[in-house]
């Protein structure tokens, strides 16, 4: 059980971190910059939200297979940890992106503009104005992505299969146990999940409240 949970944690942490690095600039650009074909881009980025995980998993499997389009370019990641990491990143992107975008949308562009007239460089504007304003939103988005990846099943199973220590994450481990009628072990693993999810959701709620107290403070 420990191995499966550790793998789940590794996958969720890496995915959340990747989304933080990738999603924050993306969300910033979507909110503050003029992006060509913005609605189309947003629709593509939010697509995994409505797509069945198995469908997304299927396409990724085909692409990442050794003879697949990406597989031939060295990304033959089918049934590997990298494969389920890529799948998780794509699958959780809409959740993280939506949270990040909301955080940036609460920022009044005028405040950033006036900060420029006050002589603050880009770096200083991020450090003193923007980040303190949006960090709870960014962190809550990251936690959401983490929690979402932890509970990930369909995409991971399609791309990664069920290799202990490589792709068999906790959710698949529980599925396996039930298939093998090992209900006692399944119950223990499931209860760990309940506890984990509860703590995570609590954390997100706390951050949301904190974030609202910052953004709400700008009401005129």
């Amino acid at each position: 059980m420990t191995e499966a949970f550790l793998l789940s944690f590794r996958l969720a942490s890496l995915t959340a971190l990747t989304l933080l690095v990738l999603g924050v600039p993306l969300a910033y650009a979507l909110v503050f910059k003029r992006v060509p074909l913005k609605p189309l881009l947003e629709a593509v980025l939010l697509l995994p939200l409505t797509l069945p995980p198995t469908v997304l998993g299927y396409y990724l499997l085909v692409l990442l297979a050794p003879e697949g389009v990406l597989g031939r370019w060295g990304l033959d990641w089918a049934f590997t940890f990298q494969g389920i990491w890529l799948g998780s990143v794509i699958f959780s992107l809409p959740f993280a992106l939506t949270a990040f975008r909301e955080a940036f949308q609460a920022v009044e562009p005028e405040v950033l503009e006036v900060a420029r007239t006050l002589g603050l460089s880009t770096l200083k504007r991020w450090r003193r104005v923007l980040l303190p304003w949006v960090w709870p939103g960014l962190l809550s988005g990251t936690l959401l992505a983490f929690a979402h990846t932890l509970g990930e099943f369909g995409v991971v199973l399609m791309i990664g299969g069920n290799l202990p220590g490589e792709t068999r994450v906790a959710s698949i481990y529980i599925f396996d146990l039930v298939q093998a009628l090992e209900f006692e072990e399944a119950a223990r693993a499931a209860s760990v999940f309940v506890l984990l999810s509860f703590v995570l959701v609590l954390g997100v709620r706390f951050l949301e409240a904190r974030w609202r107290s910052i953004t709400g403070s700008n009401a005129r």
Binding site: E113, V114, A115, R116, T117, L118, G119, S121, P132
Partner: protein, 342 residues
């Protein structure tokens, strides 16, 4: 400071004006006042002097937008310290807060301050930049009447003490009246600039007249020249207007009279002299109470707005439907230049 700016977007605008002390730029909403300020701050693409080609960070122009743009998670003191650096930053920020009489609230966040207090924080912050030019966008629009006066007082005082060129845009004639110099933006250009009194008394165009409170404006034709002025025919009404530069006979002109300066003739007190000329029989159509005064809409040969102080109405007790006589004192009848006919 002489300003000469051209904008193409979001609207075409060419503004040339002098900013000396508290200079007010008056203009209707949508006339491009805010765009001009944003251009001067470097936030909107434009060409012109001064600051041409400089980024907002390099201009040292203090800009107070309508919403004040305070950083919500910083205290008043931290907001004011934003443009400052070094170990003295906090002490200096506090000195600026003292200047706007807000030092006791230094540790409050914007959410814990009133609208007027937020504005003063924003003012202190802009001053802390030691700007070469200060820009204020509609500083009174979000304030109630009592705060408004105090706000204008403070701005005027600070600007004078600092000797700071300040451009304040507004559509509020009350604020305009407090300016050292008043400029009016109309149809994408500065149409008139001068002493506020002069602009209020002698608006150069029809649009400016409306902006500074002339609501009774009429088109007419010069009928003939008479001693010290002209007679203007508007429909069947002939009005005498004094002028030193009479337009030629038959020329189309616009003339107007402020609602505050229309007199109601009391039957028991006959009028003498030139006033007797500009008299009209009208009927009261509508009476609306506005603060401590009443606005009457009267109709006859001309339709006029008339402002009546409360004490006058208390005496006359006019009612809708009453037939009365009004007089337009020649010295209050104002002729506008012919370019205003558009």
């Amino acid at each position: 400071m002489e300003i000469d700016y051209r904008l193409e977007r979001p609207l075409k605008l060419h503004a040339r004006l002098m900013v000396t002390g508290l200079t007010v730029l008056l203009g209707e909403s949508g006339s491009g006042k805010t765009s001009l300020l944003r251009a001067l701050a470097g936030l909107l693409r434009a060409s012109g002097r001064p600051f041409d080609g400089l980024r907002p960070e390099e201009r040292r122009v203090g800009f107070l937008p309508q919403g004040y743009a305070l950083v919500p998670h910083l205290t008043a003191l931290e907001n004011v310290a934003l443009p400052l650096a070094g170990r003295e930053a906090r002490a200096e920020a506090l000195r600026w807060l003292e200047r706007v009489e807000l030092a006791p609230l230094a540790l409050r966040r914007p959410a814990e301050l009133s609208g007027g207090e937020r504005q003063r924080v924003a003012l202190a912050r802009a001053l802390a930049l030691r700007p070469r030019l200060l820009l204020l966008d509609e500083p009174t629009s979000a304030l109630d009447a009592s705060t408004r006066e105090a706000a204008v007082d403070l701005i005027e005082r600070v600007v004078r003490a600092e000797g700071l060129p300040t451009l304040l845009v507004t559509h509020d004639p009350y604020v305009a009246a407090r300016a050292r110099s008043l400029a009016v933006l109309e149809a994408g250009t500065v149409r008139q600039q001068g002493d506020p009194e002069q602009v209020f008394a002698r608006p150069a165009t029809l649009g400016i007249a409306r902006l500074v409170g002339f609501s009774n404006v009429f088109a007419g034709r010069v009928r003939r020249h008479v001693e010290g002025g002209v007679e203007i025919a508007t429909g069947e009404v002939v009005v005498y207007a004094p002028t030193k530069t009479p337009p030629p006979p038959d020329a189309p002109v616009h003339w107007g009279v402020r609602p505050e300066e229309v007199m109601i003739v009391r039957p028991d007190r006959p009028l003498a002299g030139p006033v007797a000329r500009n008299r009209l029989e009208v009927q009261v159509r509508r009476i609306v109470r506005k603060g401590l005064a009443y606005t009457l809409r009267v109709e006859g040969p001309l339709a006029l707005d008339v402002t009546l102080p409360r004490h006058v109405q208390d005496r006359l007790r006019l009612a809708e439907g009453d037939r009365i006589e009004v007089a337009l004192k020649p010295r209050y009848v104002h002729l506008f230049s012919s370019e205003a006919s558009s």
